[in-house]
């Protein structure tokens, strides 16, 4: 390769540039010669004494060029600001939007590729005189492409007008977008730890917050190895990061946690203990490798979980008897294996099918979890009838029809019987999966659908594993107790866990449909039992009442389903459950607030976001409580909620006005009085005392 003289000329140009600062100062606002030109704009050219105004450095990189965040990463330089301000004017810290990563040959850069704006707030003292207010700032920044870098600088200026208190001030709408690109304060403190060259960060973030390709941008240098891949995992309401460390010199760090395109949270972390727990998130850098290992881990979990399910009260009776029957068939190896395989097929198919439905529902946007089938009272009722029938069967009231068919129709139906036993086991077992399977099933949400289905199948295989072992390892089979008269007693005893399951389902059903409807459902359940009793009586007498029984059963179960209360009734039941602990509220708006204030109504306004753990904790512990709701209702307090989950310029401004950069913010407006800012950690007493008189004045004094 020959030496590139263009590069040399850039270099020479720079030398000239650097050696002649006087000439450089000739550059004017929005210099188009620059690769990343900057323009200084004010949110309002008119300002009032004693107030503040936000300025923006609007940076517009030319195609292929980028500018840098305040911490540039491995290479590059942040931006500098050298202000020349009139007396009485002070400039705040520059606020940078959420940056992007740019990794070139292992060197990490924290950059902005498209247009971006840096915001600075100017505060005006009360004594600033009306008239023109010249503001100027000399800034230096580095502009780079993936190949070359050019340090750029400009002297930017703007002249503001100081106006009287009553003069109208109009705001530049673009600033709403500029603010939306900023990271918002998370509100809760994070914890970090450095050991063995690993940096770990634990961030309080509600489990429900969606995260896409997260990244932590640290502001301080020397702690994190910027180029190292960042591995994230979620453990309930915590997001945990692990990456390479560089040093251990600081006790407190700050940074931006990015969780999506231009969505980021400003956080502070103090040194503490951080354990790498929870479920790993697949990250871009380590996606391939991460997914594969996650898949194996989750598959192992699913297998183990499925195996444990065999011990569940709702599953064990079915399975232990199945195992006995397998042992009974002892003579023919082939029959045993075929039955075991048929059983496995039933279990795996149903587990996978349930998984597929779950994934399908999730994809369609419904918020469903594993055991979703138990959220529908119709399915619960069918299950209840089924479990009761199995219990009665075990207790000896009647014989299972498939055994009948098995006798009649030889081996083929024996396999079919095994298949359906497996299907039933998987279906009944799902509600028991929760505690054992939470992590493994959680993984199915972050894995691609095919891999997720593999995990559901793994669960099925785990559930079927004991049978496969019994069938394919004769040594185990020979160790099973020999069938004998004791088996009949054992079978009857197994009816007890089955009925326990039925009681559990009745409780669940009652919670969903209320006690009145439950009573009716239980009458249909009794009908089912009576039909089975009659069927069993026929079996004893040698009569086949199968067809009639099946028909009667279908009628009884359908009747039970139809008798279930309609959707509306159920919704009102749910509402009744919820409203007991809910504070009626309306959406926050400043206009509505001033209306209410004008009409002399007390108002409690709170600002929250789904990603704010402190907010959610306060809501659960203090706001959404019956005591609070009653006290507020008695005092006719109007409750207003401002949701800042997505950036909302009106709420942002309102928060700013109250000296807050973020949520939570709790305000109480007593009629005719100045608002009271409540503490960040609320208790029921804090809220009820507001409307119960005497403590109120003390509160005002404290918060001022």
């Amino acid at each position: 390769m020959t030496f590139d003289f263009r590069i040399f000329s850039i270099m020479l140009a720079f030398i000239a540039f650097a050696l002649a600062p006087a000439a450089v100062a000739q550059n004017r606002l929005g210099n188009t010669e620059l690769n990343v030109p900057a323009t200084l704009v004010a949110e309002s050219p008119k300002v009032r004494a004693g107030q503040s105004v936000t300025l923006a450095f609007v940076m517009e990189p030319k195609p292929t060029w980028h500018g840098y965040w305040e911490n540039p990463g491995d290479a590059g330089i942040g931006m500098s600001f050298d202000w020349t301000l009139p007396a009485g004017v002070t400039a705040g810290k520059p606020q940078f939007p959420v940056p992007d990563t740019l990794l070139i040959s292992g060197i990490m850069n924290y950059v902005y590729k498209g247009d971006y704006a840096i915001l600075v707030t100017l505060d005006l003292a009360d004594n600033v005189r009306p008239g023109s207010l010249p503001i100027s700032v000399k800034s230096e920044w580095l502009s780079c492409t993936d190949e070359i870098c050019v340090p750029e600088q400009d002297e930017l200026s703007i002249t503001l007008q100081v106006v009287g208190k009553d003069a109208p001030v109009s705001l530049d709408k673009r600033f709403n977008d500029f603010r939306a690109a900023m990271a918002r304060p998370l509100g809760s403190e994070a914890t970090f730890a450095v050991s063995d060259d690993r940096f770990r960060l634990s961030v309080p973030l509600p489990a429900s917050v969606e995260i896409d390709d997260p990244y932590f941008f640290i502001k301080q240098d020397g702690i994190v190895d910027y180029g190292a891949p960042q591995k994230f995992s979620r453990d309930g309401d915590r997001l945990i990061l692990e990456t390479g460390a560089r040093g251990d010199e600081l006790d407190s760090i700050t940074g931006i946690l990015k969780i999506g395109d231009h969505i980021g949270f400003l956080l502070t972390a103090t040194k503490g203990e951080v354990a790498m727990t929870g479920l790993p998130l697949a990250n871009d850098g380590a996606k391939q490798e991460g997914s594969a290992s996650l898949l194996f881990l989750a598959l192992g979990g699913a297998l183990l979980g499925g195996l444990l399910l065999n011990l569940m009260p709702c599953v064990f009776p079915i399975l232990s008897l199945k195992a006995m029957s397998l042992a009974k068939a002892g003579g023919s190896e082939a029959v045993v294996r075929r039955d075991a395989l048929a059983y496995t097929a039933g279990v795996v198919l149903v587990a996978t099918a349930l998984g597929a439905i779950l994934l399908g529902l999730r994809a369609s946007g419904a918020a469903v979890g594993w055991a979703f089938q138990l959220q529908d009272p119709r399915i619960i009722f069918v299950l209840l009838a089924l479990v009761t029938a199995i219990g009665l069967n075990l207790a000896g009231l009647f014989e299972l029809p498939n055994l009948n068919f098995g006798n009649k129709l030889t081996r083929k139906d024996g396999a079919a019987g095994s298949f359906w036993t497996g299907a039933l086991a998987a279906f009944v077992a799902t509600p028991c999966t929760g505690p054992f399977m939470a992590a493994a099933l959680g993984a199915t949400i972050v894995l691609p659908p095919i891999a997720a289905l593999v995990i559901f199948a793994g669960l099925g295989v785990g559930l079927a594993l004991p049978f496969l072992l019994i069938a394919f390892v004769p040594a185990i089979r020979s160790r099973l107790p020999k069938p004998g008269p004791w088996l009949d007693g054992f079978r009857k005893a197994m009816a007890v866990p089955m009925f326990l399951t039925a009681i559990g389902l009745i409780w669940l059903l009652g919670r969903q449909i209320g006690t009145d409807a439950l009573g009716l459902s239980l009458i249909f359940l009794l009908t089912v039992a009576l039909i089975l009793w009659w069927f069993g009586g026929g079996q004893i007498k040698g009569l086949s009442r199968g067809a009639l029984t099946s028909a009667a059963m279908v009628v009884a179960i359908l009747g039970g389903i139809l008798a279930l209360p309609g959707e509306d009734a159920m919704n009102s039941q749910k509402l009744a459950n919820v409203s007991a602990a809910t504070l009626p509220s309306e959406t926050f708006s400043e206009t509505r607030l001033s209306e209410l204030r004008a009409s002399g109504q007390p108002v409690f306004a709170y600002f929250t976001a789904d990603w704010c753990l402190t907010c959610k904790a306060n809501e659960a512990a203090a706001i959404q409580r019956t005591e609070t709701a009653d006290a507020f209702a008695a005092a006719k307090v109007t409750v207003m909620v401002g949701d800042w989950t997505r950036p909302d310029p009106d709420i942002s401004k309102f928060l700013e006005k109250h000296g807050r950069a973020g949520v939570p913010l709790y305000l109480y407006y007593a009629p005719g009085k100045e608002p009271v800012i409540l503490p960040q950690i609320l208790t029921v007493a804090t809220l009820t005392d507001l409307v119960n008189g005497p403590v109120q004045s003390a509160m005002i004094a404290k918060t001022r």
Partner: protein
Amino acid sequence: MPNLPSLAVATFAVFALASPLAATQKNGTLAQDFKLTDVNGKTVQLSQFRGKTVVLEWHNPGCPFVSKHYSSGNMQATQKAARQQGAIWLTINSGAEGKQGHMTGPEAKALIAKQKIQSTNYLLDAKGLVGKAYGAKTTPHMYIIDGSGTLVYQGGIDDKPTANTADIKDARNHVLAALSEIKSGEKVSVAQARPYGCSVKYAS
């Protein structure tokens, strides 16, 4: 001649295999040994300087931050001072072919003559193997290895991370400070500082 550098690189690769690419070198540990070819085709090995202090400087003539220190004469003065106290100064160019700042031997020789670069050897590392083994991120990025072969400093040339020559006079030159501390047998007080400048233009 054109094959010589790649031969040297191959030799280096044998050393480098022991530690993965993009590894960083830790202060207080033995600095990774390497072999590179200089602008005159001469093979230079780090371990041959055992007993002497060695300064490594990552270089890219197209980088404005490098220019800041060469156009002002600051880097040459630092090189001269280092050599006067008996230290070895190795300037390393890890710019890949086709990337900014890459130079062939003759091109580098011309630049050395023009800018009066005072380093002991100017080494070519177009494959970036030595640069990555040292975790060199920026140009300039400085490393100091003491007589026992131990890494005692890594970071920027000084504490004013700008491209403005006017900032040099008020800056603390970390390399000169460390060299004088090493000379008087003291511990290097600032052993790690933020490197600043352009990114090293590696091949991949």
